[in-house]
């Protein structure tokens, strides 16, 4: 076996000081297997060494929170016996190398996180970011990622009910694939990863272990003999069929109380799962690696511990339950092996061929893992741009609207969601294409809404504001479908934390997220950090993706965005200040990329949202959509398109010009449709709550939007909105 020295440690991605610390802790030089284990546990992905300090500031408490960050997924109370388990996770780097498998295994991984806790997955979502639509790789990456997400989720039979798709040149060399899953569990039957009890059997179940995904960096070339080619780290290949079996088998085993603790093997496979279980239970663990079911011949302890083969789980069972458990896994044709036991040693002790091959105190791997307080730089709020009259002179509202509706980031994403099974399980009551997806809680009156959002442009311009904004947008999207927002999960995609600018973006986004969550009582219950999203020194824009979840106590009160009936009144809730900086209009029509993002006023945000919820409770709202990218007119147009209706817009009473009014992206706004009969009632409630609103116009039967003295055909708008992506993909 290779002799471990500083260079080998560096090849494993460890820093010199870190290697020294390991030798000091161990009071000896670790062997190669031990070094591999340290490198896996101490790397950014498992140890959160750059982010931990800041994540502590996130707001994680709330009256519905059953489990916050720190477990496989977060858990929230949705009344009665029911709880929702959910989390979002990134699979960015693998998806860039192999889009299909990378995205597929991303979906597989997040679903395992959720059913590990005893929940049956009931909905998937995804947030995907690609480079410029002009970039030569974009189309293939998009096609591969969408096929991969669909390929995995469709096969398991979990509906993909929503998501978000962005294009921006900062992702040219580094796409983002974030997958989110929601599961349903009985509150009394939630499973955790904390091991307990001494001498309890440790069980390996699922697929066999191969040499998949053993970290490139940690593969010191000296490990290899003559068969280097054969042993090269390989991309993980997903097997959704096995995952479906694993899901059913685990849920079957969870029906009684055989399981003490359970943990899926995700990143760093057997290493992180066994260490985490022991660490949380303050126990030791002893494994005999000879017993691990292997797919390939002659796998070494090093490879077995670091393999990232998919569709595997580690379980600590009650004594005496092995046989019954084995029966279940046999029935589902899965591997099952007792590979070790819990001990009092507080160490991880590994045996192979009856020899001890590793012996490390658990604390060294978990608690003593490095934590950095990295240097970071604040981003100053950019100067507001003064748009001059001439800027707008030559512009026509109609053309601008068409341009925005066919903008890659605004256009309809049907090409994507048509490839996702979004109706399996028979409870999807709001399909993709709305503000949030909604699924019923099977057999009850309740439903849960979920949405994923990011706004890298805003975050890049001013991370603190951007961080707040994404949380607010998520909150608005949930309210817009009639749900009460409950909690979020977050996937923090950033560049290189060793660079002060990138670290600053991270710190300030997190701060923004935290402030907004606290103010809105919208806690973070789970999440994931993905750093080093950079290629050739060029990092991505800071991209926190927020996955929000809300509850509808009665699904019959769900709202949709399609306009309902002619003669109804359309209102904009919230004040339109005319903030164009960083809007899609400014960036793509005016070609102005500077300036601050729209300001977030948390008081107004909360007040507007709560008041909209009040109106909903009184059943006064007929359709609803929040105002996001593209501003008021884009939002109204989408409501017209969905409802196949027109709108007659009133003459502006605003002081700002019409482009600012129609296309600005001021925050905290919603568009609602109310009947004439209820208009007074609505007006009173809005006034009582000091909510600013504007009367926009009236729903028309004929398919036109009337502005000023002109009109635009909704069919025409619809074509531009629906066709862009389809045409782009078939070209």
């Amino acid at each position: 076996m290779t002799k471990v020295n500083e260079q080998v440690a560096i090849d494993h991605g460890l820093k010199k000081d870190e290697f020294k610390k390991i030798c000091d802790l161990m009071k000896r030089t670790p062997n190669l297997t031990e070094l591999g284990i340290f490198s896996a546990m101490w790397n950014e992905h498992c140890s959160y060494k750059s982010s931990r300090k800041h994540l502590k500031n996130l707001h994680t408490q709330g009256k519905r929170v059953i489990q916050g960050p720190g477990e496989n997924a977060g858990v929230i109370d949705v009344d009665d016996e029911d709880a929702i388990v959910f989390k979002i996770e990134s699979h960015n780097h693998p998806s860039f190398i192999e889009p299909y498998q990378g995205a597929a295994t991303g979906v597989g991984g997040i679903m395992r996180d959720v059913f590990t806790m005893g929940a049956r997955p009931i909905a998937n979502l995804n947030s995907i970011h690609f480079g410029s639509t002009q970039h030569k790789k974009t189309k293939n990456l998009l096609r591969g990622v969408v096929k991969g997400i669909g390929g995995y989720g469709n096969c398991i039979g979990v509906p993909t009910i929503g998501g978000q798709t962005c294009f921006d040149e900062s992702y040219n060399g580094n796409i983002l694939v974030n997958a989110m899953t929601l599961g349903l569990v009985n509150k009394k039957k939630i499973f955790y990863s904390k091991a307990a009890g001494i001498g309890k059997p440790v069980i390996y179940v699922g697929s066999k272990t191969g040499r998949d995904g053993i970290h490139g960096a940690s593969m010191a070339s000296a490990v290899f003999d003559d068969k280097i080619e054969e042993k090269k780290p390989t991309v993980q290949v997903g097997d959704p069929f096995t995952e479906k079996l694993l899901l059913e088998a685990c849920l079957e085993l969870m029906a009684d109380d055989s399981i003490i603790s359970i943990q899926d093997m995700g990143a760093a496979g057997l290493t992180s799962s066994s260490v985490e279980m022991a660490s949380k239970g303050k126990l030791g663990i002893e494994l005999d690696l000879t017993k691990v079911p292997c797919r390939e011949e002659k796998m070494t302890p090093y490879e077995i511990m670091l393999s990232e083969s998919q569709e595997r789980m580690l379980i600590v069972l009650e004594n005496g339950k092995e046989e019954n458990a084995k029966k279940i896994f046999d029935k589902w044709d899965l591997d099952f092996a007792v590979i070790g036991k819990t001990t009092t040693s507080k160490k991880i002790e590994l045996y192979f061929d009856s020899k001890k091959v590793a012996d490390i105190p658990i604390d060294f791997l978990a608690e003593d893992a490095p934590e950095y307080d990295r240097k970071w730089k604040k981003t100053k709020l950019p100067q507001k741009i003064k748009f001059k009259k001439e800027n707008f002179k030559s512009l026509k509202i109609n053309n601008c609207l068409i341009k925005l509706l066919s903008n890659p980031n605004i256009c309809e994403k049907k090409w994507i969601w048509n490839q996702y099974d979004h109706t399996v399980m028979g409870d999807t009551i709001q399909k993709p294409g709305g503000d949030a997806g909604v699924v019923r809680i099977h057999g009850t009156k309740k439903a849960v809404a979920a949405s994923v959002d990011s706004s890298a442009t805003y975050c890049f311009a001013h991370p603190l504001t951007g961080g707040k904004q994404v949380v607010c947008e998520s909150w608005r999207n949930l309210i817009s479908v009639g749900a009460e927002p409950i909690a979020i999960t977050n996937c923090l995609n950033f560049g290189n934390p060793e660079k002060e600018k990138n670290m600053g973006e991270f710190v300030e986004c997190v701060q923004g997220i935290s402030e907004a969550c606290k103010y809105l009582d919208f806690p973070v219950v789970s999440g994931n950090v993905s750093f080093y999203n950079e290629t050739k020194d060029k990092g991505i824009k800071p991209t926190p993706s927020i996955g929000g979840v809300g509850l509808l106590k009665n699904y019959k009160n769900m709202l949709t965005m399609d306009l309902k009936n002619e003669g109804n009144v359309i209102l904009v809730i919230g004040k339109t200040e005319g903030h164009l900086d960083q809007s899609v209009f400014a960036r793509n029509v005016l070609n102005e990329k500077k300036g601050p993002p729209p300001e977030i006023n948390l008081f107004n945000e909360k007040n507007n949202g709560s008041t909209v919820m009040k109106l909903m409770k009184e059943k006064l709202i007929l359709s609803c959509r929040d105002v996001s990218l593209g501003g008021i007119l884009v939002t109204v147009a989408k409501m017209c398109i969905k409802g196949k209706k027109g709108v007659k817009l009133n003459k502006l009473k605003s002081l700002i010009n019409k482009f600012e009014f129609f296309f600005s992206e001021d925050q905290g706004r919603y568009i609602i449709e109310v009947s004439k009969k209820n208009f007074k009632k609505v007006e009173n409630i809005l006034k009582e709550n000091s909510v600013h609103f504007d009367n926009l116009g009236e729903v028309q039967k004929d398919n036109y939007i009337y502005i000023d003295n002109g009109k635009i055909s909704v069919d025409e708008l619809s074509k531009h909105n629906k066709n862009w992506l389809m045409e782009y993909m078939v070209q």
Binding site: G150, G157, F241, W417, Q419, K431
Partner: protein, 227 residues
């Protein structure tokens, strides 16, 4: 009426089908693929999903499962066998129905509502449905029906093309064909019309909050015809 839904490893519309059958009054039982005996049933359903991961060819491996022999016997004796989506694929792989379901023409998975024209009402499945066009939902990657010229002729001559993809008005044409299926075929019968294989999922359209309600018509009618 008693129904049985067969569960293969990888089936994923088994529960949905169970919910639908029960909602419309069937007494339904779930049957594991490894069993050899079928419970007493008036209707056997092979549900949708990805039996055996759709590996090799969709439905091919399920076609070799233990229970399938009993299903074949049951069908040959005239028992009602309904295959939805993957179930249809299994029926073609076992030879109970002619032809094969190939990958969709656009090589993409398709999940959306479609219209189908009911071509033959002289059978237990569609007898006394008053609509000629139903709105149903599809979700598949391999729904592109293909068979030999002789087989097609046999299907046509005997009026065995149960449903064809069409538009809202009932016109069967190229534009209303979602997946490239031969003659817009969405579902077919065997000669005796006790076996029906179809790609659309009626079980996903059983209340007004879902993709539509025409699935309710299908199940209500089926139950009535069996009484």
């Amino acid at each position: 009426m008693n129904s049985s839904v067969i569960i293969f490893p990888g089936s994923n519309c088994d529960r949905d089908m169970d919910v639908a059958l029960k909602k419309f009054g069937f007494k339904n039982e779930m049957v594991w693929h490894d069993d050899e005996q079928l419970p007493k049933s008036d209707l056997i359903v092979l549900p949708g999903g990805f039996s055996y991961g759709d590996y090799l060819r969709c439905g091919s491996i399920a076609g070799k499962s233990k229970i399938i022999k009993s299903v074949i016997d049951f069908a040959k004796k005239g028992g009602l066998v309904l295959g939805i989506c993957n179930g249809f694929q299994i029926l073609t792989e076992t030879g109970l129905l002619p032809g094969v379901l190939q990958q969709n023409k656009n090589i993409e998975f398709i999940c959306k509502n479609v219209f189908v024209k009911v071509n033959n009402k002289n059978n237990k499945y569609f007898n006394s449905i008053d609509k000629d066009v139903l709105e149903l939902h599809i979700a598949h990657n391999e729904g592109n029906y293909f068979c030999s010229g002789d087989e097609l002729k046999m299907l046509e001559d005997n009026n065995l093309i149960a449903i064809s993809y069409c538009n809202k008005k009932g016109e069967v044409n190229e534009n209303s064909n979602p997946n490239g299926a031969l003659q817009n075929i969405a579902g077919i019968f065997n000669k005796e019309k006790n076996i029906l294989g179809m790609m659309p999922h009626p079980e996903r359209m059983i209340d007004k909050f879902l993709s539509g309600e025409d699935g309710s018509i299908f199940f209500t009618n089926l139950l009535n015809n069996l009484k």
